[in-house]
C-alpha cells in the first residue's frame, strides 16, 4: 500500500503534466490545480500511513524495481520523517503556486503548468529516492523544467538568468555524481557487487573508505549541494534567477528547490563522509557565517523587493547550514525545522511580491510604497510573513533559527557539556548579527513598501482610486498583461492562497513539538557517526594523517583499496 503511494507520488504529477500538455489551454490551470491538490492528498495519505515517524527509519521497505540489475540501479522509493516533511512541504506549496499563477500567466499556459507538474515529480523523486542514481536523476531533472520556466516566463533578463541557473547547478551536481560513483565503484571492488542504495553507500563510505578518500568525497558531494543551497560564495545564480523567474517559479525555487541542496547534505554528504564533515566543519561554518552577514548587508542596499528577498534566502540558508554543521541534535533539528519554515515564509513573501508585481509591474521599492493605504489586506499578510521571516517568536521562523544558533553556540569542543561539535559561541555570536541585520533589511522593506506615504508608479495613481480600470503602459512584462482584472487589494483567490500559509506559520510557531519530535530521531541516525569523529578530531587535531589514523576499527579491517 505505502509503496504504491510512493510510486503514485511520482507518477501522478507526470500524468498530470501529460494531461495538461494535451488538454485545451483554458483547462490547463484547473487540471494543474486539481492535479496538485490530488498529489497533496496522496502525500497526506502517505504521511498518515507512514509507520516510522518516531524512529527515524525508512519506509516503505521493499526491494523496488531493478532498472539496471547489472549495475545495481534500482527504482526503490522510500523516505524517513525528514524527507516526508519536505514531501509534504512540496505538495503543499505546489497547489498554492498553481493558483497563484492564474492571473499572472496568460500565454503558453499548457507548457507552463505542464512544466510545473514535471518539476513537482522531480522534486518528489529526490525526496523519495533511496537509490543514488534515482536521486541524481531526479535532482538533475529539476533543472530542465526550471530552466524553461525561467527562460520562457521570466523577466527581461530571463535568458541570462536561466543559463546561469542551469550552468551553476549542473556543474556542481556533476561533481556530486562523480563522488557518488566513486563510492559505488569502491564498494563494487570491495564486495564484488554494484549497488547504489543510499544507505549502503553511506555505510560503506563512512566505515570502509580511508579518511583521505572521505575528505575528497565530501568535497565532491558538497560541490553540487552547496550550489543548490545556495552557499556563499556560489550563491550568485540565485538572486538573478529569483529576480527573473515568474512568481510561482520563485515560490517553488525558494520553497523547495533550495531544500534539495540542504536535503542532499543531510541525506548523503553528512552520513557518507563523516571525516570530511568533521575536517571541513569549521571552514564550512566560516562560509556560513560570512554568507549570513554578506547577504544580509547586500539585502540592506537593495531597491528591488524581490531581489531583497532572494538575497535574504542566501542569508537564511546560511543559518540552516550552520545549524546542520553544528553536528549536534539541537542544531541539526533546528536546521531541518528551518528548511521547512523558510519554505513557508519565503514562499509566501514571494507570493506577496508577485501580487503587487501583477498590479504595478514593478518591484522597485523606490517607485512603490505606502501600500497599506491602498492594500490593507495585502499589507497584513506582507507584515505577517515578514515577521515570520525575521524570526519573531510565536511564528514558525523563530524555532529553527533559535535552535540553529543554539546548536552552533553549544558546539564548542572543549566544553564539558556533552554537545559534540567544533563550533562555539563565537560562531553563533557573529551569525547572530544576522538577526539584527535581518530586522534591519526586512523592516526597511516594510517601511518602504507597506508604510509611509502612498507612492505608485506613474499612470497608476489616479485611475486606481476606484480600484479598477487602470490602463497600463506599453512596457509590459512578459505574460502578465491582464492586471486590470485585479482589484486594488487582494481578491478572494489571492487571500485564499495566503491564508493556509499564514495558518501554518502560526500553528508551527505555537506548537512545533510534533515536528521536532519526528525530526530528532532522523537527525540522531544521520549524525550517529559524528560524536566519535569529533572527539578524535578534538584529541588529535586532524583526522587526515594517513591510513593509520583512519577511524578506529576501520583501518584494521580495510586494506588499502588503491
Amino acid at each position: 500500500m505505502l509503496s504504491t503511494l510512493t510510486y503514485l507520488l511520482i507518477l501522478a504529477p507526470l500524468v498530470a503534466a501529460g494531461v495538461v500538455a494535451l488538454s485545451p489551454a483554458r483547462l490547463a490551470k484547473w487540471i494543474a490545480t486539481f492535479g496538485s491538490l490530488a498529489i497533496l492528498g496522496i502525500a497526506v495519505a502517505f504521511a498518515i500511513g507512514f509507520p516510522n515517524w518516531d524512529d527515524g527509519g525508512f519506509a516503505p521497505a521493499g526491494a523496488g524495481i531493478a532498472i539496471m540489475p547489472s549495475l545495481g540501479v534500482t527504482l526503490s522509493l522510500g523516505t524517513d520523517s525528514v524527507g516526508l516533511l519536505l514531501i509534504l512541504l512540496t505538495a503543499f506549496l505546489m497547489p498554492l503556486a498553481m493558483i497563484g499563477s492564474f492571473s499572472a500567466v496568460r500565454e503558453r499556459e499548457r507548457e507552463y503548468y505542464a512544466w510545473f507538474m514535471v518539476l513537482e515529480a522531480a522534486m518528489l523523486g529526490v525526496f523519495l529516492a533511496r537509490d543514488a542514481i534515482v536521486f541524481y536523476t531526479a535532482y538533475e531533472f529539476t533543472l530542465v523544467p526550471m530552466y524553461f520556466l525561467i527562460a520562457i516566463y521570466g523577466g527581461p533578463e530571463r535568458r541570462a538568468a536561466s543559463v546561469k541557473f542551469f550552468l551553476y547547478t549542473f556543474l556542481g551536481s556533476m561533481l556530486t555524481l562523480s563522488g557518488v560513483i566513486y563510492i559505488a565503484a569502491q564498494r563494487m571492488l570491495e564486495t564484488g557487487a554494484w549497488s547504489f542504495d543510499l544507505m549502503q553507500l553511506a555505510e560503506f563510505s563512512s566505515t570502509k573508505l580511508s579518511s583521505g578518500e572521505q575528505f575528497w568525497i565530501f568535497i565532491l558531494l558538497m560541490a553540487g549541494f552547496a550550489v543548490k543551497v545556495p552557499f556563499f560564495p556560489v550563491h550568485t545564480w540565485l538572486p538573478l534567477a529569483h529576480d527573473q523567474a515568474p512568481t510561482a517559479g520563485s515560490v517553488i525555487l525558494a520553497g523547495t528547490l533550495l531544500k534539495l541542496g540542504t536535503y542532499g547534505v543531510y541525506r548523503i554528504a553528512l552520513p557518507a563522509a563523516p571525516v570530511g564533515g568533521v575536517e571541513l566543519n569549521q571552514l564550512i561554518a566560516v562560509l556560513c557565517v560570512i554568507g549570513i552577514v554578506h547577504a544580509a548587508l547586500i539585502c540592506w542596499v537593495q531597491h528591488d523587493a524581490k531581489k531583497l528577498i532572494a538575497y535574504s534566502s542566501v542569508s537564511h540558508l546560511g543559518f540552516c547550514m550552520l545549524g546542520l554543521f553544528s553536528l549536534n541534535s539541537l542544531g541539526a533539528t533546528g536546521s531541518v525545522m528551518y528548511m521547512i519554515n523558510h519554505g513557508l515564509s519565503t514562499g509566501a513573501l514571494f507570493l506577496c511580491i508577485g501580487m503587487i508585481y501583477e498590479r504595478y509591474h514593478t518591484k522597485d521599492m523606490d517607485q512603490l510604497g505606502g501600500l497599506f493605504k491602498r492594500m490593507p489586506v495585502w499589507s497584513f499578510f506582507m507584515v505577517f510573513f515578514t515577521l515570520a521571516s525575521l524570526g519573531l517568536p510565536g511564528l514558525n521562523g523563530f524555532i529553527g533559527e533559535f535552535l540553529c544558533l543554539m546548536g552552533a553556540y553549544t558546539a564548542e569542543p572543549g566544553a564539558a557539556t556533552g554537545y559534540p561539535g567544533l563550533l562555539g559561541p563565537w560562531w553563533a555570536l557573529v551569525a547572530g548579527l544576522g538577526l539584527i541585520l535581518a530586522a534591519m533589511y526586512l523592516l526597511i522593506m516594510l517601511g518602504k513598501l507597506v508604510w509611509g506615504p502612498l507612492r505608485e508608479p506613474n499612470g497608476h495613481g489616479h485611475g486606481h482610486a476606484s480600484g479598477h480600470g487602470d490602463s497600463h503602459g506599453a512596457d509590459h512584462g512578459h505574460g502578465a498583461a491582464h492586471a486590470s482584472e485585479l482589484p486594488a487589494d487582494l481578491n478572494a483567490r489571492e487571500i485564499g492562497i495566503l491564508v493556509p500559509l499564514a495558518v501554518l506559520c502560526l500553528a508551527i510557531g505555537f506548537y512545533p513539538k510534533p515536528m521536532l519530535e519526528v525530526i530528532s530521531p532522523s537527525v540522531d541516525k544521520v549524525l550517529a557517526a559524528y560524536p566519535k569523529h569529533v572527539e578524535r578530531y578534538v584529541r588529535e587535531g586532524t583526522l587526515l594523517d594517513g591510513e593509520d589514523a583512519a577511524p578506529q576499527g576501520i583501518a584494521a579491517s580495510t586494506p588499502s583499496v588503491r
Partner: protein, 751 residues
C-alpha cells in the same frame, strides 16, 4: 453599555471552553491554578476579535470595548490569582508543551544518554510576577478605557488596528512576565517589541513615525541578541532554560558547566538585553523617538510597562548577576549615567512628550542604579510608583494634545489650569509632576530615596559618587518637570493649536503635512493650514477652541492620579512599623538575593555631614531640599520670570566657553548622529561594496569566466549547435565520459 455586553458575550465561550482542551489546561503542578492561563487568553482573544472587527470593517467603538473588557477580565483574574496563590513560594503552571524534544546522542563515543530540550508554555507565578502583572493589567485596563475616547477620531479606520495591537502587547507582556522559562520570556520580549513597532508606526503614512518604529525594533533587536546569547549561555552551563531548575542549579553551584568565562558572561549578555528594552546607554535612543506613537501607547508601553521589562529581567534573574563581581556595579554605573544624561537632554526639550520620554529614560536609569547597588526592593518600588505617575503624566500630555489639536510645544501653551475643560488635567498633572520631582511624601519621593540611600551605602566602587550624581539628577528632574508644569499650566492663558497629528475625522491623518509651524502662527491660522486638504473637521470654521476631555479621559486621569497617590501608602505603613507590601512581594521572589543588601563595611556614609546617622533619613532630608530647590528654580525661570530663561540661554550661547552646553543638550548630545556616522553609514557602505563585489567579481569574473570553459568545450564537440542548453548537454556527455574513464582507471589500478 450595549457594546460592552456584546463583547462580553463574545469572550464568554472562550472562558467556558478554556479549561476543556487537555493541551491547554494540563497542569503538572498547581493543577488548580490552570485558569491563570486566562490572563494570557483574554488579550489573545481580544486581539483576534479586534482583527475580526477590522475585517468586518466595524464602524464603532466595539474594538475598544472588547479590549477594555478583556483587559479588565485579565486584571480580575490576576487579582484572583494574587488572592488565591500563596506568595511565599513560586509555582510553575504548565499549560502546554511548546518547544520540546529529546535526542539520543550522548557525549563522547557512547550514544546512550537521552537528552532533552524543553521550553513548555508554562507560567511561573511568584510574588514578583504578581506584582508586575497587577500593575500591567491594571494600568492596561485604565489606559485602554482612556484610549477608547482618545482614539475616537479613528473609529472605523485605525481603531481596530490600534486596539488589536494593544491586545497583542498585553499578551506578549503577560508571556514575558509570567513565562516559566527563558524561551517564553524571549517570546514576550520580542512580542512586546512587535506591539511597540506596530503602535509607534500607528500613523503609518507619516515618515517620521515609520522611521521611529523601525528604529525602536532594530535597537531592541540588538538587545534581543544579547538576551538570546545569554539564553544560550545559560542552557550551556545549566542545561535548562526553566526558572525553577535554573535557580536550583545556580544555588547548588554545580561543578559542571561549560567554562568559567561563559558563566561570567551571562550577566553581561543579559544586561545588553535589558538595556535595549529599557532604553539605557548605549541603546536608549529609540525611546524618545517612540513618542511618535499615540499617547496612550506612550503611557502604557513606553513609560509604565514595556520599558520596565529590562528591570524585570534583572530582578528575576538576580542570582545570575552575582556570577561576576563587576556585573552589578556595571548596572549601577550605566543606570546612573543614563539618568544624568537623559535628564540633561530633558531639560532642553520643548516638546512636552519628549521631556516626559527623556524623564522616563532617566527614571529607568534610577531603577537600574537601584538594582546595581543591590536594592531590588527600591528598584521595583520605583518601577511600581513610576508606572502610576508616569502613566498619569503621559495621559495628561495626551489629553492636552487631544484638546489642543496636537499641540505639544510648551512655548505655545500657557495657563491651561484656567482654561475650561482643562482643570482636571492641570491638577492631576500637578500630582504627577510632584511625584516625578520627588516632592516630599509623595510616592516618587519614597521610592527614589530608597534607591539613592542604598547607593550611598553600597559596596559598589564609587558608591558616594553614584549617590551624589543621583541627587544632582534628582535636582535636574525636579527642575525640568516643573518647567513643563509652570509653562503649560501656570501663567497667563495663551495657546495655539497644533497640526492635528492624531487626526479628528481626518481621513488622511498623519499625512506628510510638509509644513513647519513657525513661532509667529496666529490663532486658528495653523488650523486652516492643517486642513488645506479639505477634509471634514468637527471643529469647523473660524475661531479655534480647545476642547476639554470627556468622561473616559477625565475619569481615568482621576483614577490613576489616586493610584499614584496611593502608591505611597506602603511607605507610610512602613513608617508606622508595618511591613512594606512591595518589599514583601520582592523579598519572596527570586530577587531576594538583592534585598539582603550589599552594604559597605561600616555604617558611615557620605551624607554624614547632615548630622543624621541613618542613611535613609539623611537622604530623605537632602533629597527633599534638592527636589524643592529644583522646583523653586523652575518657578523662577518658568513662571515668575519667563524671560530670564531665554536670556540665560542666549547668554550661554553667546559665550564661546559655554556654548557647547545648551547646544549639546538641545541636540541630544549628537548621539543619533554619532551612531549614524560610526555604525550605520559604514555598514551600509560595506553593503554596497559587497553587492558590487557580488555582481562584478564573483559573478562576472569567477563564475562567468569559469562558465565560458565548458561552453567552449561544448562548442568544440557540437559545432552545429550553439544554443546554451545544447552546450550543457555536451558538457554533460563529456563529464560522464570523464567520470567513466576515471572509474575505469580506478578499477584498473585497484583490481
Amino acid at each position: 453599555m450595549h457594546e460592552l455586553a456584546r463583547s462580553l458575550t463574545q469572550s464568554f465561550p472562550t472562558l467556558l471552553g478554556a479549561d476543556e482542551p487537555a493541551s491547554i489546561a494540563r497542569a503538572i503542578e498547581g493543577a488548580d491554578l490552570g485558569w491563570a492561563g486566562l490572563i494570557l487568553i483574554f488579550p489573545a482573544v481580544s486581539a483576534i476579535l479586534c482583527g475580526l472587527c477590522a475585517i468586518l470593517k466595524v464602524k464603532g467603538k466595539l474594538p475598544g470595548a472588547i479590549t477594555a473588557v478583556s483587559l479588565l477580565a485579565a486584571f480580575v483574574v490576576t487579582f484572583l490569582l494574587y488572592w488565591n496563590c500563596p506568595t511565599d513560594a513560586p509555582r510553575t503552571i504548565h499549560l502546554f508543551d511548546w518547544i520540546s524534544f529529546d535526542w539520543l546522542t550522548g557525549p563522547g563515543a557512547e550514544p546512550s544518554a537521552w537528552r532533552a530540550f524543553s521550553a513548555p508554555f508554562a507560567l511561573y507565578i511568584d510574588s514578583l510576577t504578581l506584582l508586575w502583572m497587577l500593575f500591567v493589567t491594571g494600568l492596561g485596563t485604565l489606559i485602554a478605557i482612556y484610549a477608547t475616547e482618545y482614539m475616537e477620531g479613528d473609529v472605523g479606520k485605525g481603531y481596530a488596528r490600534f486596539f488589536g495591537s494593544v491586545s497583542i502587547f498585553l499578551f506578549a507582556m503577560g508571556s514575558l512576565v509570567m513565562g516559566g522559562n527563558l524561551i517564553l520570556l524571549y517570546l514576550g520580549w520580542e512580542g512586546v517589541g512587535l506591539a511597540s513597532y506596530l503602535l509607534i508606526g500607528y500613523h503609518y503614512s507619516k515618515p517620521s513615525a515609520v522611521a521611529a518604529a523601525k528604529k525602536a525594533f532594530i535597537m531592541n533587536r540588538i538587545g534581543d541578541l544579547g538576551l538570546a546569547l545569554a539564553i544560550f549561555l545559560i542552557w550551556w552551563n545549566y542545561d535548562t532554560v526553566s526558572y525553577d531548575a535554573l535557580f536550583a542549579a545556580v544555588a547548588a553551584e554545580p561543578a559542571a558547566g561549560a567554562s568559567e568565562w561563559s558563566k561570567a558572561a551571562i550577566p553581561f549578555c543579559l544586561m545588553l538585553g535589558a538595556f535595549g528594552k529599557s532604553a539605557q546607554i548605549p541603546l536608549y535612543v529609540w525611546l524618545p523617538d517612540a513618542m511618535e506613537g499615540p499617547t496612550p501607547v506612550s503611557a502604557l508601553i513606553h513609560a509604565a510597562t514595556m520599558v520596565t521589562a529590562g528591570l524585570y529581567l534583572i530582578a528575576r534573574l538576580f542570582p545570575l548577576f552575582e556570577l561576576h563581581p563587576l556585573a552589578l556595579p556595571t548596572v549601577a554605573w550605566i543606570g546612573c549615567a543614563t539618568a544624568l544624561l537623559a535628564a540633561t537632554i530633558g531639560m532642553a526639550q520643548y516638546d512636552i512628550k519628549r521631556v516626559m520620554a527623556y524623564s522616563t529614560v532617566s527614571q529607568l536609569g534610577y531603577m537600574f542604579l537601584g538594582l546595581g547597588v543591590g536594592t531590588t526592593f527600591g528598584a521595583v518600588y520605583h518601577v511600581f510608583t513610576h508606572a502610576f505617575f508616569k502613566a498619569l503624566l503621559f495621559l495628561c500630555c495626551g489629553a492636552i494634545m487631544h484638546g489642543m489639536a496636537g499641540q505639544l510645544d510648551l512655548r505655545k501653551m500657557s495657563g491651561l489650569r484656567n482654561v475650561p475643560g482643562f482643570r482636571i488635567i492641570s491638577w492631576t498633572f500637578l500630582v504627577g509632576c510632584l511625584c516625578l520631582a520627588g516632592f516630599p511624601f509623595t510616592a516618587g519621593f519614597f521610592s527614589k530615596d530608597s534607591i539613592i540611600a542604598e547607593a550611598f551605602v553600597s559596596d559598589v566602587p564609587g558608591a558616594s559618587a553614584l549617590g551624589f550624581l543621583a541627587l544632582f539628577t534628582a535636582f535636574l528632574t525636579a527642575y525640568y518637570t516643573f518647567r513643563v508644569w509652570f509653562r503649560v499650566c501656570g501663567g497667563p492663558v495663551k495657546y495655539e493649536p497644533g497640526d492635528e497629528i492624531h487626526g479628528h475625522g481626518d481621513d488622511d491623518h498623519g499625512h506628510d503635512h510638509g509644513h513647519d509651524h513657525g513661532h509667529d502662527h496666529g490663532h486658528g491660522q495653523a488650523h486652516g493650514h492643517g486642513h488645506g486638504h479639505g477634509h471634514g473637521h468637527s471643529h469647523g470654521h473660524g475661531e479655534w477652541h480647545p476642547h476639554g476631555p470627556r468622561l473616559a479621559i477625565n475619569g481615568v486621569l482621576l483614577l490613576i492620579c489616586v493610584g499614584a497617590l496611593l502608591a505611597a501608602v506602603p511607605s507610610y505603613l512602613q513608617m508606622s512599623g508595618q511591613p512594606n507590601w512591595v518589599q514583601t512581594m520582592v523579598t519572596n521572589s527570586s530577587a531576594i538575593a538583592g534585598a539582603s543588601g550589599h552594604h559597605g563595611a561600616d555604617g558611615s556614609h557620605a551624607l554624614s555631614f547632615t548630622g543624621i546617622e541613618d542613611v535613609h533619613k539623611a537622604t530623605s532630608v537632602v533629597a527633599s531640599v534638592v527636589g524643592v530647590g529644583g522646583i523653586l528654580v523652575a518657578l523662577f525661570f518658568h513662571l515668575l520670570n519667563r524671560g530670564a530663561a531665554d536670556r540665560l540661554r542666549a547668554a550661554l550661547l553667546s559665550n564661546g566657553l559655554t556654548r557647547w552646553l545648551p547646544l549639546l543638550m538641545e541636540n541630544k548630545w549628537y548621539v543619533d548622529e554619532a551612531y549614524h556616522i560610526v555604525v550605520r553609514a559604514p555598514a551600509r557602505g560595506i553593503g554596497h561594496l559587497l553587492y558590487l563585489i557580488d555582481k562584478l567579481f564573483i559573478d562576472g569574473f569567477v563564475v562567468n569566466g569559469a562558465a565560458r570553459v565548458p561552453a567552449e568545450v561544448g562548442r568544440l564537440f557540437q559545432p552545429l549547435y550553439n544554443g546554451a542548453l545544447q552546450g550543457y548537454a555536451a558538457t554533460m556527455a563529456g563529464g560522464v565520459a570523464l567520470i567513466a574513464a576515471w572509474i575505469f582507471w580506478v578499477w584498473l589500478s585497484g583490481g
